[in-house]
């Protein structure tokens, strides 16, 4: 699969997958995030960067259907009709989260069932989706373990027997096996040492490209953003201060805060 676009499609753009308008979330007096609007198109990878406490995780939770925003709306276009994810029932939203979306948590413990085998963790998502053939589920689980570079022989081990990097790769397999259209990731490589990070990043880069996924990735690491994302949103104090093509924002930052952020690192 390639992302080759026929000339006619330049005029005939598909609709955005996710449309975010005026999203805000407040914790009492404190702003979690405010005034966030953007469109995400199929196959696009958006990065959210900013210092600690700038509202990245708060925003991601609002977008992913985990926390209801106090203001604004999030429209998801999975089928023909756009769906306001907070106006549908809780049940409908959960179904969407299980089938069309994937969420990769920073801490793999939040995304894995620690008492279920590796194969079970991956297979469970397929069963949620309605797959029933045990042999096929196990075969696909095995295939996905190998894609995230976990030896097939470990299929019946439980995640607690895995290293942190392996747990994170298992979580990614669990999320991607059901072929979501849109994936949310909060610091997917945080808490891992640098060599493990590099391997995971390369894996993510290849998977995102091969599957044509749309993804929103929160990171405080500009090198990660450079490697994985097409577009970048820079947050400060809960607000988006600058956004654009990733290399534009990193190489020719316009906002004072982005200039500070990019000058603080040696080379990204």
């Amino acid at each position: 699969m390639t992302l080759h676009v026929a000339p006619a499609e330049l005029d005939l753009e598909p609709a955005p997958l996710l449309s975010v308008a005026g999203v805000g979330r407040f914790y009492g007096e404190r702003i979690g995030c405010a005034d966030v609007s953007f469109d995400l198109w199929p196959g696009e990878v958006l990065g959210i960067v900013g210092e600690s406490g700038s509202g990245k995780s708060t925003l991601l939770r609002c977008l992913a259907g985990i926390d209801r925003p106090d203001e604004g709306e999030v429209l998801f276009r999975g089928g023909a009709e756009p769906l306001d994810i907070y106006s549908v029932s809780e049940q409908e939203r959960r179904r969407l989260m299980r089938t069309a979306w994937g969420i990769v948590h920073q801490n793999p413990r939040d995304g894995l069932r620690m008492d279920v085998t590796a194969g079970g963790n991956v297979g469970e998502r397929l069963m949620d989706r309605g797959d029933r053939h045990y042999g096929q589920i196990r075969e696909r689980a095995l295939d996905w373990l190998q894609r995230v570079e976990i030896a097939g022989a470990r299929i019946d081990d439980r995640p607690r027997q895995f290293s942190g990097g392996m747990q994170q790769r298992l979580q990614i397999a669990r999320v991607l096996v059901s072929e979501p259209r849109l994936v949310f990731m909060d610091e997917p490589t945080g808490g891992l040492d640098v060599s493990v990070q590099a391997r995971l990043l390369d894996l993510l880069r290849v998977l995102v490209r091969d599957l044509g996924l749309a993804a929103i990735i929160v990171t405080h690491d500009l090198a990660v953003a450079r490697l994985l994302t097409d577009r970048l949103m820079v947050m400060k104090d809960g607000r988006v201060v600058e956004q654009g093509l990733t290399d534009q924002v990193l190489d020719d930052p316009h906002h004072a805060y982005t200039q500070l952020l990019t000058s603080a690192v040696l080379s990204v």
């Binding site: 992302l3 330049l10 696009e44 093509l245 534009q248 190489d251 020719d252 000058s263």
Partner: protein, 232 residues
């Protein structure tokens, strides 16, 4: 003749917010166009803004004013005002950038780096691999390096990987910033040939070359950008 690049009234001023808001005007009122099959060489002293202009043409730096129409999929598209996914589509299909340095992606082999642009444009994997090998051989990169990731390569080896990647499937518009800086004479000659071949095949080229001999062999026309220096 087909106009591939049309630059109108482009200006660039950097504002350095963390240095007291200092403003650094680079150029103003830049106007020129480049046709298919031409090689325009940018001239001007160090710091005149040659690299900045090239980056603006690529949609990497954002100009303070002006428009840049790139002929993409048969029609002019302004890369300055285009949304990110359009810029990426222009780069994937029409616009190539050859920089002095390779941006190394961890764990990706040299061969994969070089065949990647062909795959992204829909070529069959075997054909892409074959063309990549031919290109690496032409640039005299030892075969034992092809399956390694270039992270540990010398500067000149990395540069040749970068050039191979850029010329394995020359784009309709190629922007080239000092590609020969750390190459020996033999490899420099190969680069000059590759540029000539791309041009003969119809590519429009805009380049910066410090080496005067290279510059003279490549250029069909010069543009001295000192002429656009912003009046203080």
């Amino acid at each position: 003749m087909t106009t591939m690049i049309q630059v109108e009234n482009v200006a660039k001023t950097f504002t350095l917010h963390n240095q007291g808001g200092a403003r650094l005007p680079v150029f103003d009122n830049v106007n020129f166009s480049v046709e298919a099959g031409e090689a325009l060489v940018l001239a001007g002293a160090s710091g005149a803004g040659k690299s900045s202009l090239l980056r603006i043409l690529y949609g990497n730096y954002r100009p303070t004013a002006g428009s840049i129409r790139i002929t993409h999929a048969g029609r002019p598209v302004d890369i300055v005002s285009a949304v990110p996914r359009t810029v990426l589509d222009i780069r994937r299909r029409t616009l190539g950038f050859v920089s002095q340095f390779l941006r190394v992606i961890p764990r990706v082999s040299t061969l994969d780096i070089v065949r990647d642009p062909l795959l992204a444009r829909g070529a069959a994997p075997e054909i892409a691999t074959e063309k990549a090998k031919v290109m690496l051989a032409r640039l005299n990169l030892p075969e034992r390096l092809w399956n390694l990731a270039p992270a540990t390569f010398s500067g000149g080896e990395q540069q040749r990987v970068n050039i191979a990647r850029s010329f394995v499937d020359p784009s309709a518009v190629m922007l080239i910033d000092e590609p020969t800086a750390s190459l020996d004479a033999a490899n420099r000659d190969v680069v000059v040939e590759l540029i000539a071949e791309a041009r003969a095949a119809g590519s429009a080229i805009v380049g910066i070359f410090h080496d005067e001999a290279v510059r003279e062999r490549v250029a069909t026309r010069y543009l001295d950008i000192t002429a656009f220096r912003k009046a203080a």
